[in-house]
């Protein structure tokens, strides 16, 4: 790889001194670090970035102050363009999620795909829960799918953008089972939830943290988990595979991306900083409290993951009838 060849002479010296961290010690940020977030204050990504920053600061992992730069607009497009505009610098990072991959696939104006930047690390994967209203007739995902087969297009699911994981997953399940139901977009999470609890739609995919209180208060029932294994907080809920569906478990990811051409020393420094933060007790508490799964990866692993996941999502979206403008 290009990074490692640039890095090789320094690394050779460092290995000679039997101290790999010395290579990282070459880079120390000297200006405040900025983390770009593609959504407004208070959104899930914003809260995630601020939580990560507070863990980094609580453990004294950064010599400089870290601040969030909210760059909403056009899904991930504005934030991605912002990170890309900092090419070659070492004081800006961004929080990426699935839509950083899907937006450039379908939008000609989104010209900064994740693969053109420097993906640093995956940090968490978010499991999802498939939920129905508490008094819904569907006790299992199988019940719902049978009903959706019996009357194609009559049942509906509330969600956000058609590019979101919830719709991609719906496409996969429909292709696998031959069932057919509607995906109705609502711009905010509150409206999606209100549509389900008001009985206006039949199904939605929620985050475990959001579902917990609704289930406990008896307003909602969870019928399947979108995760590799059963969730500790919902031990009775079967995974998609256990529910008899042969569909890939599409992870909802949150990770950190650096601008294109960030110097290798800085990449190594930040990768190490994120690793230490994610190993801390506070971070592990945050992850388990919110029902997330820890998923730290190195820059090399992250790049490989992004490339593979981009191909997979492009294939599914294309099969769902969306026009893929570039891969």
């Amino acid at each position: 790889m290009k990074l490692s060849s640039l890095f090789a002479p320094a690394l050779a010296v460092a290995v000679g001194l039997a101290a790999i961290p010395a290579a990282q010690a070459q880079f120390v940020p000297n200006r405040p670090l900025e983390i770009a977030v593609h959504a407004g204050p208070g959104s899930g990504n914003d809260v995630f970035a601020r939580a990560l920053i507070s863990v980094i600061e609580a453990n004294n992992l950064s010599p400089v102050r870290i601040q969030v730069a909210n760059k909403p607009g056009g899904g991930s497009t504005t934030a991605a363009a912002y990170v890309a505009s900092k090419a070659g610098t070492s004081n800006t990072l961004g929080v990426f999620t699935n839509i950083w991959i899907t937006d450039p696939l379908v939008s000609a104006e989104a010209t900064n795909p994740l693969s053109s930047m420097t993906p640093l690390a995956l940090v968490i994967r978010e499991p999802g829960l498939i939920a129905v209203k508490a008094d819904s007739p569907y006790q299992t995902l199988g019940d719902f799918i049978e009903a959706a087969k019996a009357e194609p297009g009559k049942l509906s699911q509330s969600g956000g953008s058609v590019l979101a994981r919830e719709n991609v997953l719906r496409q996969l399940i429909m292709m696998e089972t031959g069932a057919d139901w509607q995906f109705i977009s609502f711009p905010s999470g509150g409206e999606r939830l209100a549509a389900l609890l008001g009985g206006h739609v039949d199904l939605m995919i929620v985050e475990p943290g959001e579902a917990a209180e609704q289930v406990r208060s008896g307003a909602m029932r969870v019928i399947a988990a979108v995760s590799e294994e059963r969730l500790p907080t919902f031990p009775d809920v079967p995974t998609l595979t256990e529910a008899g569906l042969n569909v890939p478990n599409l992870p909802q990811i949150r990770g950190i991306v650096a601008p294109p051409g960030m110097p290798a020393e800085a990449v190594a420094y930040y990768s190490d900083m994120i690793r230490q933060a994610t190993e801390s007790q506070q971070w592990q508490d945050y992850v388990s409290e919110n029902g997330f799964e820890a998923a730290f990866t190195t820059p090399e692993e992250t790049s490989a993951f992004v490339a593979e996941y981009t191909e997979q999502l492009a294939g599914i979206l294309e099969a769902a009838g969306l026009e893929i403008v570039k891969r």
Binding site: P41, G42, T78, A108, S156, E191, Q214, A219
Partner: protein, 503 residues
């Protein structure tokens, strides 16, 4: 009794000295960010949230909520003085508020805004206290067809916002509707009217359009009319800076109207406070005996929308606290703050976290008094702002407008758009097109289109579903009546005569 007991307990929490301090601090910060265009309560709460995590949850939520409703108080100030709405809910306050200021009643307008905010804000909390669980069920019964009908009803108010020419009003409305479609379509992920500019993918921002067509256009018009030397009079004497008895009396129905309309619409998670203030204004004008005064500085035309956007806060907290459903950006942040403290809003919150629930409700009674005491003394000071010579005031307004537009997302592109919309507003004013319908179309267009498409998807393309539900049918009939009445020839001539007599 449960409610009285709970409220008593809540005041026990809210009146603890440190919580009074937090409440005051929140209200003060809210007023400040409300006054500054561009910087909204949502961003302020998000920035302060990490600092509150080490606080007692009751004190923390009391302060953050204070920012939320305090910002609504402050929002009217720039609308009235500078014709510059800082957020979508204070647009309607520009219409009559700024006209009052032009007539030398700036102090009175600020006073009425503060009093109306206080009354409606308090009524909103009383309703939150008394009927929250029952009203929450009503909120859930609203589905996409009802939202569509509500938005159509709101758009029909164009008739009342148009001034002399209904045709010009409708054209401005259509431009507003078109502007609301710019950006990525949520349903298909296709971009619409972006002309290949990535900056337009996220759509146009309300602040940029509103400041452009209201504030910038107003300055340009005034500068062009320099020969007329129109100066805004600011009468001397403290008495003239406060609302007169007549003005308060004229607004007495508006206080009630604004309170009820604001609360009811605030409860609906998909509606938003902008439509609440538009509808309150529409109702006020529709039932008024002096319709011709509206748009020319009618105090009730300011009191109704200003009340509505404050009662809206009490309403918006109903689904948040009783169902765990946030209705808008700011309540979504309050929800994440509560979750970070380990409080889970939902049906069980009242019984499981009574300190937080009742403490917050009680603190809002306290907060509204604080805001009134904070804002009324500021009225004379703010009214003096208009004494500043224009060669100082106008550059300052331009500066504020540019900062407001830039701070939306930190892009110079928004400042360029601001200039374009300022020019559009100026041309519209020159050609006699009203600007309020454009804003009405822009604010409601997106929600209306979405609700229509959602409804049609739910009914599998059957458009009659919109007319089969009682609430949506009622609202659609109401909209049809409002729209058709002025088209009937003689009524329209009567309307035009009434307006031209008023002008």
């Amino acid at each position: 009794m449960d409610i009285l007991y709970g409220l008593g307990h809540g005041f026990g929490v809210a009146l603890q000295p440190q919580n009074i301090v937090w409440c005051f601090l929140g209200c003060f910060l809210g007023t400040v960010v409300g006054i500054l265009p561009g910087l909204g309560p949502a961003a302020t709460i998000a920035i302060l949230m990490p600092l509150t995590l080490n606080m007692d949850p009751a004190g923390g939520i009391i302060m953050l909520a204070g920012i939320y409703y305090g910002a609504k108080y402050g929002g009217s100030t720039t609308s009235i003085l500078l014709n510059m709405p800082g957020e979508s809910s204070s647009v309607v306050s520009c219409i009559d508020g700024y006209q009052m200021a032009l007539k030398g009643r700036a102090g009175a307008a600020l006073g009425i805004a503060a009093i109306s905010s206080f009354i409606a804000g308090t009524v909103g909390i009383v309703l939150l206290t008394l009927v929250a669980p029952a009203v929450a069920r009503f909120a859930l019964s609203f589905s996409s067809p009802e939202y569509f009908a509500l938005m159509v009803f709101g758009l029909s108010l164009v008739v009342l916002l148009s001034g002399a020419s209904l045709l010009k009003g409708l054209l401005a409305l259509l431009v507003g509707l078109w502007l609301s479609t710019v950006g990525i379509d949520l349903f298909t992920a296709q971009s619409r009217f972006t002309f290949g500019r990535p900056e337009l993918l996220g759509g146009l921002d309300f602040v940029v359009i509103a400041i452009g067509v209201f504030a910038i256009a107003e300055i340009m018009t005034t500068i062009q009319n320099r020969a007329e030397g129109r100066l805004i009079p600011v009468p001397k004497g403290f008495r003239n800076l406060l609302p007169s008895w007549e003005e308060l009396k004229a607004s007495r129905f508006a206080f009630v109207n604004g309170s009820i309309t604001g609360f009811v619409i605030g409860v609906l998670p998909g509606a938003g406070s902008a439509i609440a203030s538009f509808i309150a204004y529409g109702i006020e004008k529709a039932v008024s005996k002096r319709k011709e005064m509206f748009g020319h500085g009618a105090p009730e035309g300011l009191a109704a929308p200003e009340g509505a956007n404050n009662a809206d806060t009490g309403g918006a907290l109903v689904p948040l606290l009783t169902l765990g459903i946030p209705g808008g950006g700011t309540t979504a942040i309050l929800l994440s703050a509560l979750i970070l403290w380990g409080v889970r809003p939902g049906p069980l919150m009242i019984t499981e976290s009574p300190d937080i629930f009742w403490g917050l409700v009680a603190s809002m009674y306290v907060g509204n008094v604080v805001l009134l005491l904070l804002n009324l003394p500021l009225v004379p000071a703010f009214a003096q702002l208009l004494r500043v010579p224009k060669w100082v005031l106008f550059p300052v307004i331009f500066g504020l407008a540019i900062i407001g537009a830039y701070s939306v997302s930190g892009r110079i592109f928004d400042v360029e758009l601001l200039a374009a919309f300022g020019l559009l507003g100026f041309l519209m004013a020159k050609l006699g097109f009203p600007s309020a319908p454009l804003i009405l179309g822009f604010v409601l267009g997106d929600a209306m289109e979405r609700a229509l498409r959602q409804s049609l998807m739910m009914s599998q393309g059957d458009i009659t579903s919109l007319f089969q539900r009682p609430i949506s049918l009622t609202l659609l009939i109401g909209a049809a009546i409002i729209l058709i009445l002025p088209m009937v020839g003689f009524i329209n001539r009567f309307r035009v005569r009434a307006i031209s007599e008023g002008a």
